[in-house]
C-alpha cells in the first residue's frame, strides 16, 4: 500500500474547511508520461483531497494522449489541474488552473479554491466586480509561487 501524503491531522483540518463546500467541483488532472518529476505525487495528492468529500470528483487525463481536452481547458503544463464546476453532467470551466504540485502554502490555496469554486461566488468587492464586467479582452493571470 502506498503511504498517504496527507496524515490524519491534515485530513481532519481539510474536512473542517470542506464543511463549507456547496456545489460539486470536478478536478481535471493532466499528467504526462515522460519528464514529469512531480506528476505521480501531484496525482496522489489530488486523489487524497477529492476522497475527503463526496462533493469533489477527479478525472485524469494525459497532456499528450488527451491533447484535445488539454487544449479545450488551455492546459499546457504537467502536472496541471483545472477546478471546474460540476452541474449534473455538465462541467463549467471558470479558468481556474494550477500548474505544478500545490504543496506548502499552496496546498491551503488549493483547498480554499475548491471551496471558492464550489460556492460559485468570487466574493470580490463590488468595485472589482464592476471593473471585471467591463473587461472585453482576454486576461491571463499567472501567479508564480514557491513551495516554502
Amino acid at each position: 500500500m502506498t503511504e498517504k501524503l496527507l496524515d490524519k491531522a491534515i485530513v481532519g483540518q481539510v474536512q473542517e474547511v470542506f464543511n463549507q463546500l456547496q456545489e460539486p467541483v470536478e478536478v481535471l488532472f493532466f499528467g504526462q508520461k515522460d519528464g514529469c518529476d512531480y506528476c505521480e505525487d501531484a496525482l496522489q495528492l489530488a486523489q487524497e483531497i477529492v476522497d475527503i468529500s463526496d462533493k469533489l470528483s477527479l478525472v485524469v487525463y494525459d497532456l499528450d494522449e488527451n491533447a484535445e481536452v488539454a487544449n479545450l481547458y488551455n492546459v499546457d503544463k504537467a502536472p496541471g489541474m483545472v477546478l471546474a464546476g460540476r452541474d449534473g453532467d455538465q462541467l463549467k470551466d471558470y479558468g481556474v488552473r494550477y500548474a505544478g504540485i500545490p504543496s506548502g502554502h499552496e496546498f491551503s490555496s488549493l483547498i480554499h479554491d475548491l471551496v471558492l469554486v464550489s460556492s460559485r461566488d468570487s466574493g470580490l468587492e463590488q468595485k472589482t466586480r464592476e471593473f471585471l464586467k467591463g473587461v472585453s479582452k482576454p486576461v491571463l493571470l499567472q501567479v508564480f509561487v514557491t513551495p516554502t
Binding site: 500548474a99 471558492l116 473587461v135 486576461v139 493571470l141 509561487v145 514557491t146
Partner: protein
Amino acid sequence: MLAHQMALESPMVQAEMVEAMEFPDLSNRHHVSGVPQTTINDGAGAVVGAVPEAHLVAEIQRALQSA
C-alpha cells in the same frame, strides 16, 4: 487566491497558479524574483507580492491599455 477569484467572476479572465521551481524556463522569462508574482497577459503587466484587489485591478487596466 485573488487571481482565481477574478477568474471565477469573469469569463474573460483565466488564472493559473504556477509552481515556479517546477517551471524554471517560464519563471526566468518573466523574471520572477519575489513571490507571489502575478504576470498579466504574458508580461504586459506584473505585480509582485500579495496585493489588495484595487492594486491588481489597476495593473490589469494598465496592461490592457498598453496592449
